[in-house]
């Protein structure tokens, strides 16, 4: 890959080849040796030096690598291969500004080199420095008057305007300038390519100059625009509409439909326009009433009549129903469309039934009909009529179970009934009977259709939706009923045995297992789904926090690591392809890719994962040291290292809260139940808000821990224990650490009270419901208070406290003890599968709080150590408890009060930790569960896997 980018004509190419090969194959050590070999022969071969740096960089020897790079950089190389190699290094170092610098130097040395200028332009694209892009492109054009360079300049100006949304000046100057530049080329007949016309249209569109756009499209250069798939005609129709030329727009869309009667957006646009026309005509002249609507109605009917020519296209039928809905809506306020409605159908039921007869044999019919039903609130009578009609129409075809079309009709009927709530009234035993009945239908179809065909195991099976429906019918409990859950799991697990490629089953199982904290079981299916790359972002909401809740910290940490890798490569990848857009003249995609990158950078999932990972790193570090609160001096220092390594900005919030983007894809899991789906829509929004509050608190907590840690560094600095080099990072312009911490503490308390006064979207236990935010369980006990009290204790330590200056003893130890009480209670009452999960969540929350408390206590100790010279004579590696002995020995000291307070605090935490240990040792979740499964006489699938979950503790 890399070698291709390099100037092949270079005379040293042959010598360098082995280095490139090694680097390409990931053999960095060998690459380093090869580079040294070349450099021995040819000391000043810069490219070899850079490739050596690259090898070093990839081996993790960053400092050495940077040293070599710096030397080469100072030499200002101008040859392509060296610069390309430098670009790769700087790209991997995330130092795009140095790429630009290297090319700036090269251009100065060799100002007539077109290649170098072009690379410099691309380097500015990487930096999103639109002004410099603009100037470089113009310079290039002067050097070599090629069209692309000129339009790079235009695009750069356009990007200045786009990026500068607030400044109207840039908007009023930049856009007209870009337009003028395009116009000049047009007038001089210099426009050559489609991309150039496209860019002209873009500059006009940004200024809402739609008339001008139309005339460019109609001018000779407009012929350069390709009209594949009617896209250009659609664009023209859209412009007419935006110009309020409704009659023309109407005709344009009508023509589009004539050409493609299956395209949904043509119809919706047409119907909208028809209604506007109708308004206008009734305002202008009463005699011309309804002309627009009549037209649109006729188009819709006309389309349906064309089915003889183009058989079985769903478009016209669906459009008719959409139009019918719009007319009914209007009728409620104005009665002027009554005759039109009558002309179309008696009721939407007729249209739905007509649709069912025509398309019920396709699986898509289910989703189409649900889409229409969502728009109508059918009365009970209407529902009965529709389902009865459907039932009658399939009555004589369900006999033989071997016809695919009949099967789908039956399936569609069953789905529609479920969606409309026809199974809601079933008693528990009737429900079970019904599910068994569905199972029989499924089995028969499976035998007669799937088993007799030679369908591949990688293919989803057409009978699968029966299984999904069985799960949906079964799992309607609003109560935490284990039996229902287990039976749903069994349905889906059995479904997967027959149809191993069905990802819907797997997703549902992941959700169901997570509901009971059976993370190992859900993880197995998660892995077989092979979720990766951007799917981490859109589907992460289904599984990302569940491992943590189930107390699987290590798996969780691994998963989060993979997710974060995806996000960190996002910036690099998107920039590379922004450059490609300029190269290939895909100007329309530049802004799109930019917005896409922002959406990923501000993704809720990204923020959650980043924060979770930091907290997990802290927890795992303290947990690694000792689960009990036996805290060694050296182990706390490794926690300190972790915090240092995270480079947390304590002063500034790194997230832009109002730009957090919700990228969750909810289309993959549906309950196929109207009422439940509409309430889930609401909770999708609410969980987003909940997660943001959760994120805000946790992010603040991390900053507060880091700020507390900085206080230790301050003390160390005061003692002169750190040399000047290391303290440079704490620049003088930074605020006093204690002020920062005090401010964070106040904010933390505000958030806590906000948490306790808020109501959250609690899980409703439906299949398609997004998981509730962890803030819900955190809001139920005083976890945050434990930490907040400790932070305040740290602040008070810093204010040179004397006896009585602490307003009260820190209560965190007691608050934590009350949390452990609740944990004990929960463990003792944990008798159901659902309660296993809530107990595990409680346990996770408790352990998380304990771990962070230990960190804060460790920080307390360090501060006291440096501030009061308490234990300078003591040996390292001693138990924390000994602090109290050391402290009490110095009882007469002014610090004795503090030491005493601290010691009692530590002993309270230690006691709590020991209690947790006892509680956990006493509990035997697996026996609770196996007892349960014997009683239920059910499959052990769930039980076996749940069992393994407690292993981490």
């Amino acid at each position: 890959m890399m070698a291709k980018n390099v100037d092949n004509s270079h005379i040293n190419e042959r010598r360098l080849r082995p280095i490139y090969d090694c680097l390409d194959n990931g053999n960095n050590k060998k690459a380093l040796q090869e580079a040294d070999k070349v450099l021995k022969k040819q000391k000043d071969l810069l490219c070899a030096k850079v490739l050596k740096s690259l090898a070093l960089l990839r081996m993790g020897r960053q400092e050495e690598s940077l040293r070599h790079l710096k030397e080469v950089h100072a030499d200002c190389p101008t040859d392509d291969s060296t610069l390309q190699a430098m670009t790769i290094c700087y790209r991997e170092l995330h130092k795009a500004e140095l790429i630009a610098d290297a090319y700036e130097n090269a251009v100065k040395k060799d100002p007539s080199n077109e290649e170098l200028h072009s690379h410099l332009f691309m380097a500015y694209v990487r930096l999103s420095d639109y002004k410099k892009q603009h100037l470089t492109a113009l310079g290039l054009y002067k050097l070599k008057p090629k069209n692309p360079y000129y339009f790079w300049a235009v695009m750069s100006i356009l990007m200045q305007a786009i990026s500068d949304k607030e400044s109207k000046l840039a908007h009023s100057l930049a856009l007209p300038l870009a337009e003028k530049m395009c116009k000049r080329f047009l007038e001089e007949n210099k426009i050559e390519a489609e991309a150039e016309v496209e860019l002209y249209l873009m500059t006009l569109e940004k200024q809402k100059k739609y008339n001008e756009m139309l005339s460019v499209m109609d001018s000779p250069v407009g012929a350069k625009l390709s009209n594949h798939l009617d896209f250009l005609s659609k664009r023209r129709a859209d412009l007419l509409r935006r110009l309020d030329r409704y009659e023309d727009a109407f005709n344009a869309y009508k023509q589009l439909i004539d050409n493609n009667i299956d395209q949904i957006d043509y119809y919706t646009e047409l119907i909208d326009i028809a209604f506007v026309l109708n308004e206008k005509s009734s305002a202008e002249a009463n005699d011309n009433q309804n002309s627009g609507v009549i037209n649109s109605g006729s188009v819709s009917n006309g389309g349906a009549n064309e089915r003889a020519v183009q058989p079985r296209l769903r478009g016209p039928y669906l459009a008719k129903m959409v139009l019918f809905g719009r007319l009914e809506e209007r009728q409620r306020t104005q009665a002027d469309v009554e005759h039109l409605i009558k002309q179309m159908a008696n009721s939407v039921i007729d249209l739905l039934f007509e649709y069912f007869v025509e398309f019920g044999s396709k699986q898509a019919a289910i989703y189409d009909m649900l889409f229409i039903l969502e728009k109508f609130n059918l009365t009970e009578v209407e529902i009965q009529t529709l389902t009865l009609q459907m039932k009658q129409s399939i009555a004589n075809i369900t006999e033989n179970y071997s016809d695919l079309n009949s099967m789908h009709r039956h399936m569609t009927y069953l789905y529609i009934c479920h969606y409309l709530g026809q199974n809601d009234g079933l008693s528990a035993s009737n429900r079970l009977d019904f599910v068994q009945h569905l199972g029989q239908i499924y089995e028969k179809h499976f035998e007669n259709i799937i088993a007799k065909s030679d369908i591949m195991t990688t293919e989803p099976q057409s009978t699968d939706p029966f299984v999904t429906l069985m799960a949906c019918v079964m799992f309607v409990n609003k109560e935490f009923d284990d039996n229902i859950l287990i039976q749903t799991i069994v349905i889906l697990e059995n479904g997967l045995i027959k149809s191993p490629a069905n990802f819907h089953f797997k997703l549902l199982l992941v959700k169901l297992y997570n509901m009971i904290g059976a993370v190992s079981a859900s993880h197995t299916w998660l892995e077989s789904l092979d979720i990766k790359h951007i799917q981490y972002d859109s589907l992460g909401y289904i599984f990302a926090t569940q491992h943590m809740i189930g107390a699987h910290f290590n798996t969780s940490s691994q998963l989060l690591g993979n997710m974060l890798k995806f996000y960190s490569s996002n910036v690099k990848d998107t920039l590379d392809y922004m450059i490609s857009c300029y190269k290939f003249g895909s100007f329309t995609k530049v802004e799109e890719i930019l917005l896409f990158r922002d959406r990923l950078t501000n993704s809720l999932q990204y923020c959650l994962s980043a924060v979770d990972r930091m907290i997990l790193d802290m927890i795992l570090e303290t947990k690694k040291n000792e689960v009990l609160i036996v805290m060694y001096y050296c182990s706390h220092s490794s926690t300190e290292n972790i915090i240092n390594y995270m480079e947390i900005d304590v002063e500034n919030d790194k997230f832009v809260w109002n730009e957090i983007s919700d990228n969750r894809d909810f289309s993959v899991i549906r309950s196929h139940h109207q009422k439940s789906e509409s309430s889930v829509k609401e909770s999708q929004k609410r969980t987003f808000d909940d997660e943001i509050l959760w994120l805000k608190i946790r992010n603040l907590l991390i900053r507060a821990i880091a700020a507390s840690h900085n206080l230790v560094n301050d003390e160390v600095k005061k003692k002169g224990l750190i040399n000047n080099n290391n303290t440079e990072t704490n620049g003088t312009e930074k605020r006093n650490n204690i002020d920062v911490l005090s401010e964070l503490s106040v904010q933390f308390r505000e958030y806590i009270s906000c948490v306790h006064s808020s109501t959250f979207a609690e899980s409703m236990l439906s299949l398609d419901e997004p998981n509730e935010s962890r803030i819900v369980s955190f809001s139920k006990l005083n976890y945050f208070e434990v930490l907040s009290e400790l932070i305040d204790f740290i602040i008070s330590l810093n204010n040179e406290p004397k006896e009585g200056s602490l307003s009260s003893d820190p209560k965190s130890g007691d608050i934590f003890a009350s949390i452990v009480d609740k944990l004990e209670e929960s463990v003792n009452t944990c008798k159901t599968l659902f309660s296993v999960r809530s107990t595990l969540e409680l346990l996770t929350n408790t352990m998380e709080t304990l771990s962070l408390s230990i960190i804060l206590l460790g920080i307390c100790q360090s501060i006291m150590k440096y501030k009061m010279n308490i234990n300078s004579s003591n040996k390292k590696n001693r138990r924390k408890k000994e602090v109290s002995t050391a402290g009490s020995a110095a009882a007469e000291d002014t610090t004795s009060y503090l030491v005493k307070t601290y010691a009692s605090l530590v002993s309270k935490f230690e006691a709590s930790a020991q209690r947790i240990d006892t509680i956990l040792k006493a509990v035997n979740i697996s026996s609770v569960l196996s007892e349960r499964f014997v009683l239920d006489g059910l499959s052990t699938i769930g039980g076996q896997r749940v069992d393994t979950d407690s292993n981490e503790y």
């Binding site: 390709s226 594949h228 798939l229 896209f231 299956d262 395209q263 949904i264 957006d265 119809y267 296209l313 769903r314 669906l318 459009a319 396709k362 699986q363 898509a364 289910i366 989703y367 189409d368 649900l370 889409f371 969502e374 591949m456 990688t458 293919e459 989803p460 699968d464 490629a501 069905n502 990802f503 789904l529 092979d530 979720i531 990766k532 790359h533 951007i534 799917q535 972002d537 859109s538 995806f566 490569s569 996002n570 990848d573 998107t574 392809y577 490609s580 857009c581 290939f584 895909s586 329309t588 995609k589 799109e592 890719i593 917005l595 896409f596 959406r599 990228n663 894809d665 289309s667 993959v668």
Partner: protein, 173 residues
């Protein structure tokens, strides 16, 4: 009813119903971005009335001289939306674009074991041009059919005369 339109970056957040299918690969971002940046006109998506993504086609146009051709890199339709001829619709879109760009033919690679796909492509007028040995890595590696359909510019349909011998992936131009 189906809307066919150009694939947008944001569609990547929503294409899971298509991509979770075991035979549809989810690539790294750069792969999709490369196609969007270079051949945006060869990347189309079909959308259901409810806004869900039903399927998409990703392709490119490349080659020298009479090898200038359209290529189907990925074509996939979500399980719920099969049997609606959507694949044909998407293939037709890429063929139209290739034709407008003066290509001689359209080609694609398919696993030899994927009978469903091979038959479908045959129905759409594609024929096996050659077999590529061990094109798909896995356990074991699998051969691919290189299937082609001539476009009007290739008047004598020279591009689709089948090769008698299979080729190795490294010999592909």
């Amino acid at each position: 009813m189906t809307t066919i339109r150009a694939f947008r970056c944001d569609d990547m957040f929503r294409f899971n119903n298509v991509n979770l299918d075991p035979l549809t690969e989810t690539y790294g971002l750069s792969f999709y971005l490369q196609y969007l940046a270079h051949w945006p006109e060869c990347f189309q998506v079909v959308e259901a009335p409810n806004g869900h993504i039903m399927g998409y086609i990703m392709g490119k146009i490349e080659g020298q001289g009479d090898q200038w051709h359209g290529h189907v890199t990925a074509l996939s339709v979500a399980p719920q939306y099969r049997r609606l001829n959507l694949a044909a619709k998407l293939m037709n879109a890429l063929e139209q674009t290739s034709e407008k760009k003066q290509a001689y033919f359209v080609d694609l690679f398919v696993r030899v074991s994927n009978r469903v796909a091979v038959d479908m492509y045959k129905r759409l007028g594609y024929s096996v041009y050659r077999r590529v040995l061990e094109y798909y890595s896995g356990d074991p590696d699998e051969d691919a059919f290189d299937m082609r359909k001539a476009l009007p510019r290739d008047k004598h349909k020279k591009s689709i005369i089948p090769l008698q011998h299979p080729v190795r992936p490294e010999d592909l131009e």
